[in-house]
């Protein structure tokens, strides 16, 4: 029963959404709109699930004293502080805004900025022209990088940005379109498998 109900619901809603997508009939469009509204109602529960999972994960870490378990207290402290500042008075409350602008934004931005350091180090160590393909990749990357910044046009007037644009407009676009088509065909086939109940891993516990 625990498996059959979700499978039946998945089949029903999957088929209905496919049919309504291709039918302009008023009844079909009304059904589509109604199901879309249900989707909007269900979506906020994702946040509940996320919060519960986060609490469970970090509570387990503290209980089991896994590596760096002390940091889980920081997660709880941060979560409680943001909730206490934001929930009663809304996100425009000065305390919440202060925490967001002075704690969350700099920390998030710092984490992302570290990428520049690691990319520079990785490029130095790993970007070697060992084979023809690697050389092609290296030359393309250098042209795109030079064309992407104004100093490229200073060193190689107009040519740098034109060469970058040509690479993006032609080889990149063709390859990307091929990837989109492949991914889309894969998504369609996987969706059919899920709707027909062949693929059941989303229910948990494998096939």
């Amino acid at each position: 029963m625990k498996q059959k109900v979700p499978l039946v619901l998945c089949f029903l809603f999957g088929i209905v959404m496919i049919l309504t997508e291709f039918s302009p009939h008023a009844a079909s469009q009304a059904t589509y709109k109604e199901i879309a509204n249900w989707g909007r109602v269900i979506s906020p529960f994702v946040f509940v699930l996320a919060v519960v999972t986060l609490i469970q994960t970090h509570w387990n870490r503290i209980q089991r004293r896994t590596e760096h378990w002390q940091y889980s207290f920081v997660v709880f402290a941060g979560m409680l502080a943001m909730v206490a500042a934001g929930v009663p008075s809304g996100p425009q409350h000065p305390a919440f805004a202060w925490l967001f602008n002075n704690v969350q934004v700099p920390m998030d931005a710092t984490m992302f900025s570290l990428l520049a350091f690691f990319i520079a180090s990785a490029a130095y160590r790993a970007f070697r022209a060992r084979t023809f393909e690697a050389t092609l990749l290296l030359v393309t990357a250098v042209i795109v990088m030079l064309g992407n910044v104004p100093v490229g046009d200073l060193l190689w007037p107009d040519a740098a940005s034109n060469a970058r644009q040509w690479i993006l407009d032609n080889p990149n676009l063709s390859a990307r379109r091929g990837i989109i088509l492949g991914v889309s065909l894969g998504a369609i086939s996987q969706s059919i498998r899920i709707i027909l109940g062949i693929e059941r891993s989303y229910l948990g516990g494998g096939d």
Partner: protein, 272 residues
């Protein structure tokens, strides 16, 4: 010597990166910047809109990527306010985009003396990305019954004549993720909403197929896109500063790759 060069301590590379980021910030300089076609297309599209038109900006980025996308938002909003175009702000992908959107909208509005509720409004975030896009196509008020600060949408003057996408001249998606595809699939395909994108440098290559098919009317790519738009509106800002700093970082990385390869080939020849 070349062996040493190949095994250079990564902390030395980190110091070089830090220096080429910090120095241009302390001593700003200006480099000539050519405007690319995708940026020009977006500028021309907005510039051709009559005063009183409304555009919607979907702020779909978080704090980690705001340095690249926020200058785009500021530049486009400055252009809109100068032209008398109204701006609606929404967020469909990241909940933490809303305070960032609020901040940049307030900054630009203060500079251009735009009035909240008459020239611009921030509706905020609603979960369920695709369903939010679909819902607004039917009726914006069915998704957003109030704005970010909980004012009823019926009390906001500029929302009185706006029902759905039929009254929106352009949707600009400022994105650090896959939300552009969502807007194209559900906003453009189902409701014929005109869409443009401003994305971080790492995902810009993914946007070109949509640009070629006309599903995107224009595209801003990372710091460069922001800098180019600032050049077009003749108001250099954070995008211009960012692209000049990025110039040096790119040069450093190219230099490191070249040095690394020279060392690699010399070492390999010696071994042979």
């Amino acid at each position: 010597m070349f062996e040493k060069l190949m095994n250079i301590d990564r902390r030395i590379i980190f110091i070089f990166v830090a220096l080429v980021v910090i120095i241009p910030m302390l001593f700003p300089f200006s480099l000539p910047l050519n405007v690319s076609e995708p940026t020009q297309k977006l500028y021309d599209y907005i510039d051709a809109l009559p005063a009183g038109s409304t555009i919607m900006i979907s702020f779909d980025y978080g704090p980690s990527s705001f340095p690249e996308t926020e200058p785009m938002a500021a530049a486009v909003m400055k252009h809109c306010f100068d032209k008398g175009i109204k701006v609606i702000g929404v967020a469909v992908a990241y909940i933490d985009a809303v305070p960032l959107a609020d901040r940049v909208m307030q900054q630009v509005a203060a500079e251009k003396e735009a009035v909240y509720g008459e020239d611009y409004v921030l509706l905020g975030y609603r979960p369920g990305e695709e369903y939010v896009i679909l819902g607004m196509g039917a009726e914006i008020a069915s998704v957003y019954d109030s704005d970010f600060s909980a004012t009823s949408i019926t009390e906001i003057p500029m929302m009185q004549n706006i029902t759905n996408y039929d009254q929106i001249s352009l949707l600009l998606n400022l994105a650090a993720g896959s939300s552009v595809e969502g807007w194209i699939t559900y906003g453009h395909t189902k409701f014929n909403l005109k869409i443009a994108a401003g994305v971080t440098g790492v995902i810009v290559s993914q946007m070109y197929p949509y640009l070629q098919t006309g599903q995107l009317v224009g595209l801003l790519s990372g710091f460069r896109g922001a800098g180019e738009y600032e050049k077009l509106i003749k108001a250099p800002g954070d995008g211009t500063k960012g692209i000049n700093t990025a110039s040096l970082v790119h040069l450093l990385i190219i230099g490191l790759v070249v040095i690394g390869n020279i060392a690699f080939f010399v070492q390999r020849q010696r071994e042979e």
